[in-house]
């Protein structure tokens, strides 16, 4: 399957066509030319590859087949929750009643879609244990920003603007400090303790009246549940600060614990992770946010309300919300429909099982991986297994990067590597609940093979991948030399 695909321009033959487009009579061509000002007209025809339709189809199909994807391979990318996207979600979202609406139609024409959005808001309120939900943010990072901006607006409304600091653990997702900073806060790190959890004593020292919020992921990116969370929330609230929950790891606790009950004031949920809508190709995603009672007035513009007669409306506020609008029209509705389809198909018990099996699968991997993959924070973990090969690295220089590249040869997408930053040479493996024991066993076998290669054939391991269409890329060069302009001289050029 790993035939190298030639660039399409190398398949180009002058005069070959995918479709026979009728040539307009000269009079129409002249009129067309005249409609475009001379300085905007091409001097020569564009140099496009000339191939038949079948060759174009084969070319792009082969390229697509060379992708790693959840439909093709086990994809244990830590903190990304690459679970199976049930086909029934797609079927529901492609119903003409949804797809053939125009966003500028009146609410009266869109009752079905609005009802779905309303129902999703209600289900998420139950799942999160919070007062209000906005489906507007288009992605996790935008959800984070919306949440932090709501916190900013809350303190502004209270005239308590000396609160300029946001605390983030040193294990936080990089988006957390970035979102806080974008919303105008100053970020201070909270060190993690030796067990991978927030160091509560260190937190105590940082909590004062300059702190606006504490951003946490629970379980955190070490795969460990912050079991002091209720105590942490009490301390933060006592100091006048709010609590932000990064929902990236919600899959570990969905249906089991509610962030609202843990004391969080604002939560973003990656619907494309926990609620199985497709992701990994650059979107569209959804970073819906939930808000506690005190933050509810600062919800972004546009969410769906239901009046006494059962009529659904996109509510855009009596006065503009502090944050204004985040998305045009109704947001990424296709994603919202898929997420609701998933929630309803699972039901309450099904969602509880999602968390249980996600955690079970991660612990199964952690228990079965050979000893060279050391668990820095012990066992058990939550929904993702964090391991490090730092001892092997000191021994003969084998890196997590080498393991990741070798896994591609063996048919698996690589786990997340070098994250969280506080553990050297780490791999963060998130199997999700949708993988079978047989798949997990195959992955363990691959990791065992790589463990043997670390001592038997380290040079080959350091050059992996060997069996893919491209070998190891020079990622330092790729980042240093940003000019990726392609040059191509068509064989047809000048003809």
């Amino acid at each position: 399957m790993n035939v190298r695909v030639l660039p399409i321009e190398q398949k180009s033959v002058a005069g070959r066509r995918g479709a026979n487009i009728p040539v307009a009579v000269e009079e129409i061509r002249a009129r067309g030319r005249a409609a475009i000002p001379a300085h905007l007209r091409r001097a020569e025809a564009p140099r496009l590859p000339e191939v038949s339709e079948l060759e174009a189809v084969r070319h792009f199909t082969r390229l697509a087949q060379q992708n790693f994807s959840i439909d093709g391979q086990f994809y244990p990318l830590g903190s990304c929750t690459m679970k199976y996207n049930p086909r029934v979600n797609e079927q529901v979202a492609s119903l003409p009643g949804f797809t053939e609406l125009h966003p500028m139609q009146d609410d009266g024409d869109c009752q079905g879609t609005l009802r779905v959005m309303y129902r999703l808001q209600e289900e998420l309120k139950k799942i999160l244990g919070l007062e209000e939900v906005s489906l507007a943010p288009a992605a996790g990072a935008q959800g984070e920003y919306a949440g932090m901006a709501a916190i900013k607006a809350y303190f502004r409304a209270r005239k308590d603007e000396k609160r300029r600091v946001v605390l983030c653990p040193d294990s936080a997702h990089g988006t957390n400090p970035a979102s806080a900073s974008l919303a105008g806060f100053e970020v201070k790190p909270i060190p993690s303790g030796p067990d991978g959890r927030v160091d509560v004593a260190a937190l105590d020292k940082l909590l004062d009246d300059s702190v606006a919020a504490l951003m946490l992921t629970n379980p955190n990116t070490c795969g460990v549940f912050e079991r002091d969370i209720v105590e942490i929330a009490r301390k933060a609230h006592a100091a006048g600060a709010l609590l932000y929950y990064d929902g990236a790891n919600l899959n570990a606790i969905v249906g089991r614990v509610r962030p609202g009950d843990m004391g969080f004031d604002v939560v973003h949920v990656n619907l494309h992770k926990t609620f199985s809508t497709p992701h990994g190709g650059g979107g569209p995603g959804s970073g819906a946010i939930g808000l506690s009672r005190r933050l509810a007035p600062f919800i972004p513009d546009s969410h769906v309300i239901r009046d006494e007669d059962g009529f659904f409306t996109m509510w855009t506020g009596d006065a503009p919300a502090p944050l204004g609008r985040l998305m045009a029209f109704h947001g990424n509705t296709g994603v919202l429909i898929r997420a609701l389809a998933y929630i309803l198909a699972q039901g309450g018990e099904g969602l509880r099982d999602v968390a249980s099996y996600a955690v079970l699968n991660a612990n199964y991997l952690l228990a079965r991986l050979p000893a060279v993959y050391e668990a820095p924070f012990g066992r058990p973990c939550k929904h993702e297994a964090l391991v490090t090969i730092r001892k092997q690295n000191k021994l003969n220089g084998i890196k997590a990067f080498d393991v990741a590249k070798r896994l591609l040869d063996l048919g698996f997408h690589a786990p997340t590597i070098y994250f969280p930053l506080l553990v050297h040479e780490c791999l963060l493996i998130e199997p999700t609940e949708t993988e079978s024991r047989e798949t997990l066993d195959q992955f363990v076998a691959a990791m065992e093979q790589i463990a043997r290669e670390m001592s038997d054939d380290p040079e080959a391991l350091q050059q992996a991948p060997h069996d893919l269409p491209t070998g190891r890329l020079d990622d330092a060069k790729a980042a240093r030399e940003l000019n990726v302009c392609c040059r191509w001289d068509s064989p047809a050029a000048g003809e």
Partner: protein, 127 residues
Amino acid sequence: MDPKDLLYTNSHEWIEPSGDVRAVGISEHAQQMLGDIVYVEMPEVGCVVSQGDELLTVESPKAAASVYAPVGGEVVAINENLDASPDMINKSACGEGWLVKLRPTDFESEKAGLLDYDSYKRKIDEE
């Protein structure tokens, strides 16, 4: 500069032990951990930082890492060669790969937070 003569922080920066204006960089250990450095986001010349403030960011394919001010002071120069050759940090972390030059404001009272070469080496061996 001989790495043995430099003073270090727990967060892997180094600073020259004496002088009105002193070079600051990241340690050999830090450059190894980061891997190939691909970009340095420099501070403005003339800006004033306190000890422990974020001074600049270095990026590798692995991570973007904050570099903190080992002591407070004014940034009087930045290493402009790193713009074209950030790999100089990998090749010579304690020499030509220096990052900025600082004029410390109160070195004597802040130096207690710094480690000499032997203490720093013990610390990284424990990690």
